[in-house]
Symmetry: C2
Amino acid sequence: MVSEANNADERPQVIIIGAGFGGVWAAKTLVRLPVRVTMLDKNNYHTFLPLLYQVAAAEIEPEQIGYPVRGILRRMPNVTFTLAEVTAVDLAAQTVTTNHATLAYDYLIVATGSVTQFFGTPGAAAHAFSLKTMEEGVRLRNHILTCFERAVHATPDERRRLLTFVVVGGGPTGVEYAGALSELVHGPLRKDFPELDIAEVSIVLLEAAGRVLGGMSESLSAYAAQSLHKMKVEVRLEQRVTAVSGTAVTLHDDSEIPTSTVVWVAGVGGEALAKESGIEVLGNGRVPVQPTLQLPQHERVFAIGDLAAFPAEGGGWLPMVAQVAIQQGIHAAQNIGRHQLAQPLTPFVYWDKGTMATIGRNKAVVNWHGRSFTGFLAWLIWSVVHIMYLIGFRNRIMVMLSWGWRYFTFEQMVRLIMPSTRAGWLAIAPQDAFKRDAYEESAD
Amino acid sequence: MVSEANNADERPQVIIIGAGFGGVWAAKTLVRLPVRVTMLDKNNYHTFLPLLYQVAAAEIEPEQIGYPVRGILRRMPNVTFTLAEVTAVDLAAQTVTTNHATLAYDYLIVATGSVTQFFGTPGAAAHAFSLKTMEEGVRLRNHILTCFERAVHATPDERRRLLTFVVVGGGPTGVEYAGALSELVHGPLRKDFPELDIAEVSIVLLEAAGRVLGGMSESLSAYAAQSLHKMKVEVRLEQRVTAVSGTAVTLHDDSEIPTSTVVWVAGVGGEALAKESGIEVLGNGRVPVQPTLQLPQHERVFAIGDLAAFPAEGGGWLPMVAQVAIQQGIHAAQNIGRHQLAQPLTPFVYWDKGTMATIGRNKAVVNWHGRSFTGFLAWLIWSVVHIMYLIGFRNRIMVMLSWGWRYFTFEQMVRLIMPSTRAGWLAIAPQDAFKRDAYEESAD
């Protein structure tokens, strides 16, 4: 059924798919225009993805980086929310189909974001952990803690495998997670597990290129690598992963690292909906957009954020980060306003507010208009910026409290193996225990 | 395999099954004795069950009422923890078998707690929600929020069913949850769902006896019923539930209440391990213990807490509450010390610190040595006592902050449909949507 509501209301219908940074900031901008807006998302909450790695490192509660979408939209009288999974977009009919219904749009903003890409690496999709959704963050936290619990009762070989953690991908997420994992292990887990020799724990960061944080300056890459080294993370450069199994990761020279934990943060591509709906995409699933953020040949359809491939000034594409999504969300909404008034649409210009990554306590790197900051100052900037963009005053307070607590006590307190994945591991056979989905499969 | 560690260490081996109130306080007491202690639990965290209903009402994060067991045991050099599910106790061989191994004990404390009892009510086990574990708390929270999301798109009949919430059992948990649900609905959900007429929401509390809070004085029962009435909870007394389905609850007079949500807090019995291991139990699975908390004929085995049936002074049994478990945990440990020294064991005497239940903002009832308190004072006592017994300073701060936030803003902020059960509902057929386990079954 196609919604009949159009007849009752003369205002054009805008549909936003996705309640991430791009979608939320688009809605915030559309509230001032004479349009009706429907926002669709398969979760009832907005996820602050830049801190997801801290959920996976037992630093903060998952609820602290989620905010109810309906809470965000409360003061927006022309915006409604529907919890639904979008199954198809029909550009010719101007409709969006969800698991509930088919909805007609006058304008469409596709902001579905990105998903992990495994580049066809054998076994990676089945055995590696990714870090793109709240589920995956909690699952990885549970898995890390479970590895330690199992190591207590394991044979020496098993124990070394259980205590080897391999992070694939030396971008910001990989660097941040490797650092956070080191602090978790050498802080509270060392005290929690007097039965284990914590020197047996090995955290390995694999990067295909010649340096970590390839998007930043060489001096920042060197600082990050050095900091990780001090935190007992083994950084291995120019390493390509050729296979992943439940018990090892294989490298390009056919050497193997026995491990039960491969965290795959080596690649992201556009979310599948665009491609499945026949929208033209690049090889990685991202949608090439016009300078106005419109799709070619579809002036009423905009793609923004991680999904959109937008040329960067110095060549290549704009990075898949929150700032790009936020600014594109605002710009797409403004261009919808211009289109309504039959004004010429303006091209999107990215205002680079800098890039940053944190490595650990008092250790971060910030790149800001050619200037580099490291150490405590960079760490402070990183913290303040992340708190600022976190939605919800309560979430900000809670995260600051968690950080403060951890800073002064050296304790990551969310060391809980929680639903859903906890139920499973007791029941499953040891040889299946570290298939990525074994927990869920055996849980009932 | 039976643990060989005994040979190396002359101290007797105590095994504690369960890291609830009884088990934890037993361990705290045993730390001063010349024994080795192994604590077993199937979770790696202690759950503060008295606040679980607040998790299910989106008031606090589940992590805030969980505390890592290894964190509790850190300063107890003679206590170790094993994450394991106990499958059998062999009283003759003096061993405990888990999914990992078989362990020999010199003394055993069984503190496995209680589970929901459905008294054979048809459909209840399959369709009703219980509230005894962290999983169940999160699952119920997700379900309530999902009902509201679905109601937006439902037919009028479906909508009324989705917005009718039936709580079965007018004891403390039932009263507390009905009140908390009312505050969630009439506070934030009313604002979140402008599409719904919140007057259509119906919260029904069913009680089989002639008054709610049967364990307290009649004046407190009356106060609780009156408070719930003011909060728009329909309290129906002398109602027996004869059947539960995915779409309705049936009462003893064959009348039906169409509902998608039956919260079953009408009965608890002893956890199954004792009975399955051939320990003599009452009809409800609880273990009748001697005044010393020992099992009859098994002087080295103690049962404590919800699992133990201990005669109360005025007849009947001691209530299944945290205070009984805590005091029995301490007493069982002390009696192990006496047994080691060949001193006579002393009988357990319960020191009643009072009973209490909260109904809502500024509304609670406290029964203390024959005295009754209601209203703001009772609410304050309730709050202070619960914060005091919550383990972990960070948890206390976080819960106080959540309460303070809610108190001043009237907002329950954890309105997130989170893993694990979120993934499923989008995929499942509407007619199956409210089978209790449908979420998990269809999630993969």
